[in-house]
Assembly symmetry: C2
Homo-oligomer: 439 residues x 2
């Protein structure tokens, strides 16, 4: 027996749930997984620890500052900070064993030593899909991805959400046409429009040397409001003579046409010319997804098209398109917004309570229920009936089956519905039928 | 485009699978999870990184040498090396929010910087269940655990396995009765019997000061062969007057009686007086599980009863009983032994191949299949039919649906069974029926 106790605590910025909430979280993961699999994405699982030279091959930026280093022996190792870099390494490493287009999903934890603040986590689940082509990849894939987003969020119980779509080539061509060379920098400012407002965007643009005339053209462009058809018309009418712009416009038009074919309803997707995605590796289509009733939550699913997934590991050209859902943050925010609560989630279907000397028969009944795939617990401790029923209440089990002398003699058991308090006498066959039907 | 490429590789001792094997591995996890849930165990998920003072509260031994330290800021952090220490911390930390007996399962990765050797992994999945009591926990739980082991391995497709059972009190009492005080040391040697043979056990015992007379008593004890009833008789007939021994014997008898009640067939469990489990925190029942046809694989599921789960974090007395399956090692060994192979595992049910200009109709069919929960991929790239069919072969998809002019005009589609090569003409409704029934 140790005398000096260590305080049982976890690190700040890490999420840990009680079982009733963990069940909700796991259900969320299950639904995302089912939806990804329905679209023919294959699972992979990569090591959490990788060589630092692999994870940081691109180098620089926030990534390097946020990374968790791992110490054991001489190798410089780190924890992965996303699932994209491990994918890039995976595809380059297993190139000759994979079939392209390679469609994979990966749902797993990643690590970022971010500043500690509410709703930001240092360990969190990402749920990614990507489609990787060998040399080239049809633009049609860019149209299929939103249908995966749509199906996934429908499965998660949402109706009122919008997948916002844009194309980086369109933006790049537009800025090139204005003779703006530092367009990556401009994009990063434009991307903040929703957050900081147009006046601050103006200020920041002027600060980096954009003049008033050009600012106004940018403003008219990013502030354009209309449905998809009128946005496409507006873009055409700009009559911008720039190949990149024309390519982007053509891609966006194709993507919008086929998104509908892939079954996404018109009011669940929308062209939004302000969506740029801060990351500079996106090269074409970009996506962000918003819950219309909870704009403050921000984008819940983002991604896009990139030209060259594994450029730091191989000379193979591997274009791809993909999305990522930050599940831990999403769960936290949905819970904070009161959209999900642990009230009605039950994993255990029945608690069998033996009375007095009827343990053997209680075990038999538990065996039967479990054989019929009904999740069952049997109360094995020595306790008064009131304590046993109190336990049933606390673990939130929907049915309690009491096994005593009368029950064993008559083969008719007392089933208590813990929600209604109602007690019914039933045969074992009826209990199995009743509990199986209530999935 | 980066010019100097980083070699895309992973660290030694880490397992990474191709998708077809990953599917098999995930199926294994699913089955274990389903079985654990059927017995009313609740899920938890704890951080992979914890404070070193928490993980190493017990201190000393192999653990400290094998631990991966994590560096970021000032806090001394480490990666968990098992799921038991995090459970001990979890139960102490959330004590007032949990209901006891608390039954949890946890399937997750753990990290140990072991020596690099074949079949040993530094990152591996463990699948644990534990039942924790508040103050006390009925011995009946020790009898229920083997039924979870039995169900789990049956679900995994095994028939011929043996759950070996012993009781540490029995061993302790036996050694006390021989006036052997360093019985923990003796147990560690006895535990190696299977590996090193009786002659080496003798040598090692004599080395630590056990005399020949005592050795012979120990030998007769651990070498006893018989079915459960005769083992229990043998133990009774020893007439050892030691309270610990008597307690252990009574517990073992109760556990054996109820294991059968819990539905474990007689030939799937057996008392084995040599099972001691090296770890010194087990205090009563101990389990090890062996595949009878593959004795070399060693124990595939071990565990036991302990007196005080969280003694390093709280004064609450929390006895428990649990088991752990090392899934990564098990998967590796089953694959090496040729027991599982990736041959017949398919996640994608159908590949829709559009001909010429029939993309829209192909998308429609994919949508329909997916709505009917049939995992479907559509081939979106520009390629010759031979390349498309070759892709279907490589991804190992069971059905290909070809959509061309004839098909669209007649609403009758060509479905190719990729295993038999057989081509059938079918309506969409029939396709859905056919593919749904083949789960």
């Amino acid at each position: 027996m140790a005398d000096k106790k260590v305080n049982p605590s976890i690190l700040p910025g890490f999420m840990e749930l009680l079982p009733n909430e963990q069940i909700l979280f796991n259900n969320m993961i299950e639904k995302v997984k089912d939806s990804y699999e329905r679209y023919g994405f294959l699972p992979i699982d990569t090591p959490v620890i990788e060589k630092s030279e692999v994870l940081l091959a691109k180098g620089g930026g926030e990534t390097e500052k946020q990374i968790y280093k791992v110490v054991k022996g001489d190798t410089d190792m780190s924890l992965r900070f996303d699932l994209t870099v491990p994918l890039a390494r995976y595809v380059a490493m297993h190139f000759h064993e994979l079939s392209f287009p390679f469609r994979r999903y990966h749902i797993a934890k990643v690590y970022r030593g971010e500043k500690n603040q509410k709703g930001r986590f240092r360990e969190f689940y990402q749920a990614d899909i990507d489609i990787i082509g060998n040399g080239e990849l049809s633009i049609l894939n860019d149209a299929e991805i939103p249908s995966v987003i749509y199906t996934t969020f429908k499965e998660l119980g949402f109706e009122n959400f919008t997948i916002k779509i844009n194309n980086r080539k369109l933006l790049q061509g537009f800025f090139e046409n204005l003779n703006i060379n530092n367009y990556q920098e401009v994009l990063r400012i434009v991307d903040k429009l929703e957050k900081i407002g147009i006046e601050n965007v103006r200020k920041e643009l002027l600060e980096i040397g954009i003049n008033q005339e050009k600012y106004e053209k940018i403003r008219d462009f990013i502030m354009f409001e209309g449905d998809n058809l009128s946005t496409l018309s507006f873009l055409k009418e700009l009559k911008i003579e720039n190949v990149t712009f024309s390519d982007g416009l053509k891609e966006l038009e194709t993507v919008c046409y086929y998104i509908e074919k892939f079954g996404v309803p018109k009011n669940n997707f929308k062209i939004d010319l302000t969506i740029a995605r801060g990351l500079d590796y996106y090269t074409g289509t970009v996506y962000e997804t918003f819950l219309n009733d909870y704009p403050k939550i921000g984008s819940i699913c983002s991604g896009g098209r990139y030209d060259n997934l594994s450029e730091f590991y191989t000379n193979q050209k591997l274009p791809g398109v993909g999305i990522s859902i930050g599940l831990t943050r999403l769960f936290y925010q949905l819970r904070e917004a009161g959209i999900i609560s642990a009230d009605n989630e039950k994993l255990i279907k029945a608690l069998v309570i033996p009375m007095d000397d009827y343990l053997d028969q209680s075990i038999e009944i538990s065996n039967l229920l479990r054989k019929n795939d009904i999740s069952t617990q049997i109360y094995l401790e020595n306790a008064k009936m009131s304590k046993k029923l109190n336990y049933a209440n606390k673990i939130n089990v929907p049915y309690v089956i009491i096994v005593g002398e009368d029950e064993v003699n008559s083969n008719i058991y007392t089933v208590k519905n813990m929600k209604t308090g109602e007690q019914t006498k039933m045969t074992i066959d009826d209990i199995i039928l009743e509990l199986s039907s209530r999935n």
